[in-house]
């Protein structure tokens, strides 16, 4: 038996060696350094489009002269993206550029899956660095280094209450006075009494003015105002209690659906069955939403624009550590984000095939753009050099600029907690939060009873230890700023 196991092991080792040998041979090929054209492999999110090949033929003839490279863009469908991109990264597959965002970006950057581009930004990416909003680059730093090119668009988040305009006008509500949850009460009451087919509130989690270390469900936050040096459990604050009490009153009054805590209903805009909802805004968002809904909506802010980690890392194109030629990839990203022709070609397709343009550089989609080349604008790059549509306001990009400049920086912008030391505690806390948060935030249960219960359970699960660890890392990070 021992002998046989030995043979088995030897066989495995042998196979392994043969296979790795094959692998090495391949990776040294086509480096593109001795004047040869380098092919950049680019993976990004979105449903694969029939005309991608056609568009990228144009792209390639254009960029071949400029940077002596060609690009092969592969789109991975929305729902497949998380799993597929993660396997690709973990397996060390060779490619050059990949889309990433949010916590995926942070984790992969910490793991070393991406190349830090700080030096390249002063060289190949100089033009890019000059045009991009510096807050974005600052905000996505992981351990002091930049690991990707964020899409230059809105850098801040502004949560808003959005109203169904038809109903607002019908009952002559004054929504300009709304700024917090409590202000909604009289309107909800009228709607509930007079509009039986309308659910007064589309299900949402009550807004709380905190900067979250992980996300809104986890009990670790720093207030936007007041003591911004101390990490707290915001579920212990009076403000949270008051807000959830209000939410619970609304729930009891039937302003929300009774299955709010468990429902997965997404409340699509084009179904007119709601009166008020919450969402993240950007300049002229009402216009976009009204177009999506096919009826008018109107919003009022629930907070001032604030730049947080999530809002700066919403869309990033990162260069993979497995890239054979990161400089070429950077040159391409630089061109994509600074050259209006290339950016619009990649985003809108080919002129007169996918869109038409008039002399003022204002465009209109042709059916082919929707049917054959419909790519997600937000993920691809710089928005400020995109052509405007006929029904876009002329000052759209100026408004974006103003929006970004008006935003305040959140206390944790650029701070990324390393959760390794408290992994067990965090797992337990996540479970508890999954249990309590949805019920509390939608007002489905009485906060007077359940909020203290929630906090007690959190304490038992090791909340204080995690808070201390976060505080420690936060202080360290702060002292280096």
């Amino acid at each position: 038996m021992k002998k046989k196991l030995g043979v088995l092991l030897a066989l495995f080792v042998l196979i392994g060696m043969v296979l790795t040998a094959c692998g090495d041979e391949k990776s040294t090929a086509k480096n593109g350094e001795d004047g040869e054209t380098y092919e950049i492999k680019w993976y990004t999110v979105g449903t694969p489009q029939p005309d991608t090949e056609k568009v990228f033929e144009e792209v390639n003839t254009y960029i071949k002269d400029k940077i002596n490279a060609t690009v092969e863009m592969t789109q991975i469908d929305w729902g497949d993206w998380d799993q597929k991109s993660q396997v690709m990264i973990n397996s060390g597959e060779p490619f050059d550029i990949i889309f990433t965002n949010g916590t995926d970006y942070i984790q992969n950057a910490q793991k070393g899956a991406f190349i830090a581009i700080d030096d390249m930004l002063d060289d190949e990416g100089k033009d890019l660095k000059d045009t991009i909003n510096p807050t974005l680059l600052e905000g996505i730093k992981v351990n002091g280094k930049i690991y990707g090119v964020p899409s230059n668009k809105e850098a801040a988040r502004q949560t808003v209450y959005t109203f169904n305009k038809r109903l607002v006008e019908k009952y002559d509500f004054d929504i300009s006075k709304v700024s917090k949850l409590e202000d909604l009460e009289p309107m909800l009451k009228v709607i509930k009494e007079n509009e039986p087919s309308i659910t007064p509130m589309a299900t949402f989690n009550a807004y709380l003015p905190y900067d979250y270390i992980f996300n809104h469900e986890m009990p670790f936050a720093i207030p936007f105002e007041g003591d911004t040096d101390k990490v707290i459990n915001h579920f212990e604050s009076d403000l949270t209690m008051e807000t959830y009490k209000t939410m619970h009153e609304y729930f009891n009054a039937g302003y929300l659906k009774q299955d709010a805590a468990t429902s997965k209903d997404s409340w699509p805009m084009d179904v007119e069955n709601w009166f008020v909802r919450m969402g993240d805004s950007q300049p002229y968002a009402d216009l976009l939403w009204s177009r999506a809904a096919k009826y008018d909506v109107v919003s009022v802010p629930a907070e001032q624009p604030v730049t947080i980690n999530d809002s700066v890392s919403g869309a990033i194109q990162a260069i993979s550590a497995t890239s054979d030629n990161p400089e070429k990839a950077m040159e391409f990203l630089n061109l994509l984000n600074t050259d209006p022709y290339l950016r619009n070609l990649v985003d809108k397709g080919i002129e007169d095939v996918h869109y038409t343009k008039n002399e003022d550089d204002v465009i209109q989609d042709l059916p082919a753009r929707i049917e054959r080349y419909n790519v997600p604008t937000y993920s691809l790059g710089n928005h400020f050099i995109l052509y405007l549509y006929e029904n876009d306001p002329k000052d759209k990009w100026d408004k974006f600029q103003d929006f970004n400049e008006s935003a305040t920086e959140a206390p944790t912008l650029g701070f990324h907690f390393n959760s390794d030391p408290v992994r067990t505690e965090l797992a337990a806390i996540t479970n508890i939060s999954n249990e309590f948060y949805p019920a509390l935030a939608t007002g489905s249960v009485d906060p007077e009873e359940y909020l203290p219960k929630y906090n007690e359970k959190l304490k038992d699960a090791g909340l204080d230890k995690v808070l201390q660890e976060i505080q420690k890392q936060f202080d360290e990070w702060k002292s280096k700023q």
């Binding site: 397996s91 997965k264 997404s266 409340w267 999506a292 419909n374 997600p376």
Partner: protein
């Protein structure tokens, strides 16, 4: 009072009735979800949004099937891929599994213990997703080929063990011996004696394989980017997970609504389930034939 004569082969009529009713309920429970899916696929979308799923919907509509017809290019393409993968995959898979299982079922084969171990080992320890992915994409370079949908599923240690036991139990050594005496080669023995004698076992494996290939979407998720190579189930899965993504990312969805305008609604999803399930349900009876005939085999008296 005279006792009624009762045939011991038959159940008491009352018991019979109870069992019939119980089995009937079970059968309905099995088939009901599918009927429900068919009903939903024929419900108008508006009614679903307004009333949710209903057994007898307010308004019927064939718009879901019209929608599917409008995407027939992709649908037929995916159908083709699924059928090709299922047929070719099942053939290759059955051949490889029976070859392997037959070899390790024969006592004359010197290394049978080693190769049994070799297969069995993979049932206890698997390399996991990432090594598998590396092998398929980087060493075998199967990414975006139809073979990536076939080859990773061909061998299955569990089926090998089942077949090995089946060969050992159902094919007596004396039959093979008589064949050898008559001068049959190993190939001839395998294809003309073993194969027909083991049809029930092979049909079982073939059915499992067919189902496995037909229902597989995970290989496509991992290895296929080319829309021309997406099998039916993967197409269905994509629609489902895209809907899920849309739900979780309403901000993206609402900002660029045209992006998701092509994702079908609930009824179309169900229509697709109907279309994806029917052929495989139809193929069941073909296999069933072998299960019954298998019981009548018996060629050796000892």
């Amino acid at each position: 009072m005279r006792k009624k004569y009762r045939d011991p082969q038959h159940l008491h009529p009352f018991v019979n009735k109870i069992i019939t009713v119980l089995l009937g309920i079970l059968a309905i429970a099995c088939i009901f979800p599918f009927i429900y899916v068919v009903i939903i696929s024929l419900t108008s979308e508006e009614t679903i949004v307004k009333n949710g799923f209903q057994l007898i919907p307010e308004a019927w509509s064939g718009e879901a099937y019209q929608y599917l017809w409008s995407m027939k290019g992709q649908l037929f393409r995916s159908y083709g891929v699924t059928i090709f993968v299922t047929v070719v995959g099942t053939a290759i898979s059955v051949l490889m599994i029976t070859f392997y299982a037959y070899a390790i079922s024969r006592p004359q084969f010197k290394y049978r213990r080693f190769f049994t171990m070799f297969a069995f080992f993979t049932m206890l320890f698997s390399g996991g997703l990432v090594p598998m992915y590396i092998v398929v994409t980087q060493f075998l370079e199967l990414k975006d080929t139809v073979w990536a949908l076939i080859l990773p599923l061909t061998m299955n240690a569990f089926y090998i063990i089942i077949m090995r036991t089946f060969f050992m139990k159902s094919v007596s050594e004396s039959i093979l011996e008589s064949a050898r005496i008559d001068g049959a080669s190993e190939w001839r023995i395998f294809f003309q004696i073993i194969f027909p004698l083991s049809l029930p076992g092979i049909a079982t494996i073939a059915l499992f394989s067919t189902l496995g290939y037909w229902n597989d979407w995970f290989q496509a998720l991992l290895y296929i980017n080319d829309p021309d190579l997406v099998p039916l189930q993967s197409l269905l899965m994509k629609i489902e997970s895209n809907l899920e993504f849309m739900r979780e990312n309403m901000d993206v969805a609402n900002m660029q609504q045209s992006l998701f305008s092509t994702i079908p609604q609930e009824s179309a999803k169900m229509a697709m389930v109907v279309i994806a399930t029917l052929p495989i349900a139809v193929s069941y009876p073909f296999f069933q034939k072998y299960f019954i005939s298998g019981l009548t085999i018996g060629g050796v008296k000892e």
